[in-house]
């Protein structure tokens, strides 16, 4: 099998020397000599004694790893950050984390930032951004799960991880991505940071509301209700109270803050109830 190596190494160590090398009974210079030879002589390498049971066991463990499908890049990154592998696999299959949704979110945000820059901080552009931004995460979550949107729905319906737990996991992943992207867009906005960051608390409140409601309603319905409520409130402020920016004033922000503080423990409790085995 390695004819070339054998030709270049004329001298072969006697079989006894090779055996003693394997069992550890040689002096350092002899070991060196044998190793130098083994490195280029396949014939002498295969002549080394070995334990068949050890070899079989070692191979079994390698085969076990090699037969598994090689996880995608997303799964490997998540695993690196300590996410359990089965959870990482499910997250990476989240439909609304698909390219289409990401492209949609990024283009909406890009459009908002672009128009604000072109009109150099026009209040209309800022208002549009502030009104739309809190709904983006909710829209993503509404599409995170369900028969209508998830091609893997049938398969997951039969897996041991319960639907609600899966929903919660995916929802949190989607919220994180959406909030992160929107925060990035905020930094690109012209004008004071405080004004363009006013979407954050409403977004958090709506997202948590989404998580709470989805325990009782189908996600799509829950998302639609929350979005309708939010847009309704914005329209009322504009049309009835004649203050377009009222939903973003400090008083309103206080309300969102309270709502967040109330809903956060509810969501945490629900998560704990759904995943009893995974907390230390």
């Amino acid at each position: 099998m390695s004819g070339m190596s054998e030709m270049s190494a004329v001298w072969h160590p006697p079989a006894d020397l090779v055996r003693r090398y394997a069992t550890g009974g040689l002096d350092p210079v002899q070991v060196m000599s044998v190793e130098a030879h083994l490195a280029r002589c396949g014939g002498c390498r295969t002549a080394l004694p070995y334990e068949p049971e050890w070899l079989a066991e070692s191979w079994e463990r390698i085969e076990d790893v090699v037969d598994r499908p090689w996880p995608g890049l997303g799964v490997r990154v998540l695993c690196r950050f300590g996410v359990p592998e089965h959870v990482a696999g499910l997250l990476s299959a989240t439909p609304s984390l698909s390219r289409a949704w990401l492209v949609a979110v990024i283009s909406v945000l890009g459009f908002a930032v672009g128009s604000a820059r072109v009109t150099s901080g026009d209040p209309d552009a800022l208002l549009a951004f502030l009104v739309v931004a809190p709904v983006l995460p909710v829209a993503g979550v509404a599409m995170a799960y369900g028969r209508a949107v998830d091609p893997a729905y049938e398969m997951q319906a039969a897996t041991p991880l319960s639907g609600s737990r899966l929903f919660l996991l995916r929802a949190v992943a989607v919220l994180t991505v959406a909030l992160g992207l929107t925060a990035g867009a905020t930094l690109l906005f012209p004008g004071p940071l405080g004004a363009s960051a006013a979407w954050l608390l409403p977004a958090l409140a709506l997202s948590l509301g989404m998580l709470v409601l989805s325990g009782h309603l189908p996600p799509l319905l829950a998302g639609s209700l929350l979005a309708a409520g939010w847009f309704g409130a914005v329209l009322i402020c504009d049309g009835v109270l004649h203050d377009r920016f009222l939903p973003f004033q400090p008083a309103a922000q206080g309300l969102y803050g309270v709502a967040v503080l109330v809903m956060l423990p509810l969501v945490c409790l629900r998560h704990r109830r759904l995943a009893p085995g995974e907390h230390q």
Partner: protein, 194 residues
């Protein structure tokens, strides 16, 4: 990209008498039986050689397993023109051993220090020709006269093909110490051989 193309290419038929390069080509095409033949052929001597560098058999076994998994994933990167397949697999295995030593963060449980010898198998040089018969040659006598510490340092860096940092992790000594020991060993060898 390479992996993509490797998958498409029809590999040659393989058997237990195929050479390593053919087997690696088949491994790149995701054929487990080729990896199994490679494992059968190389795991035993890797085990002996790694055991001379680490006295913990579990770490050695783990390094061998990791190495073959790495061979499975990286077989498409192997180029026969760049050196012998056995040498390529050895390099992977010894690096795996060093990184698991680093992970366990213990002082490397060395086999007897004077046993930590090896050769860099990649180079085809006059040095190799001398080493093959090192037992009988002048270099053998000269190496035998080195102190165990100096010999271990020169073996790990010059002959095992490790970087200074890897040698330091394998031997459990600071990098600076590796460097000074290698310099002193070389100076002494030059003196003995003069």
């Amino acid at each position: 990209m390479h992996r993509f193309f490797a998958r498409r290419r029809e590999p040659p038929p393989i058997g237990s008498d195929s050479d390593d390069a053919e087997l690696l080509l088949a491994v790149a095409a995701e054929r487990t039986e080729a990896l199994k033949i490679l494992h059968r052929r190389h795991a035993p001597w890797l085990r002996v050689r790694l055991s001379r560098r680490c006295a913990d058999p579990d770490l050695v076994d783990e390094a061998i397993q990791d190495a073959f998994v790495a061979v499975w994933r990286d077989a498409h990167r192997y180029r026969p023109t760049k050196g012998d397949a056995a040498a390529w697999i050895w390099t992977i295995a010894v690096r795996r051993l060093i990184s698991s030593l680093r992970r366990t963060a213990t002082i490397p449980p060395l086999a007897r220090l004077e046993d930590t010898v090896g050769v860099r198998p990649v180079v085809e040089s006059a040095e190799d020709a001398v080493l093959v018969g090192v037992e009988h040659g002048e270099l053998g006598t000269a190496l035998a006269r080195l102190s165990p510490e100096l010999r271990a340092a020169i073996q790990a860096t010059v002959l095992d093909g490790l970087t200074t940092r890897e040698a330091a992790q394998l031997l459990g000594i600071p990098e600076g110490t590796v460097k000074t020991r290698v310099m002193r060993a070389k100076a002494q060898l030059r003196g003995f051989l003069a």
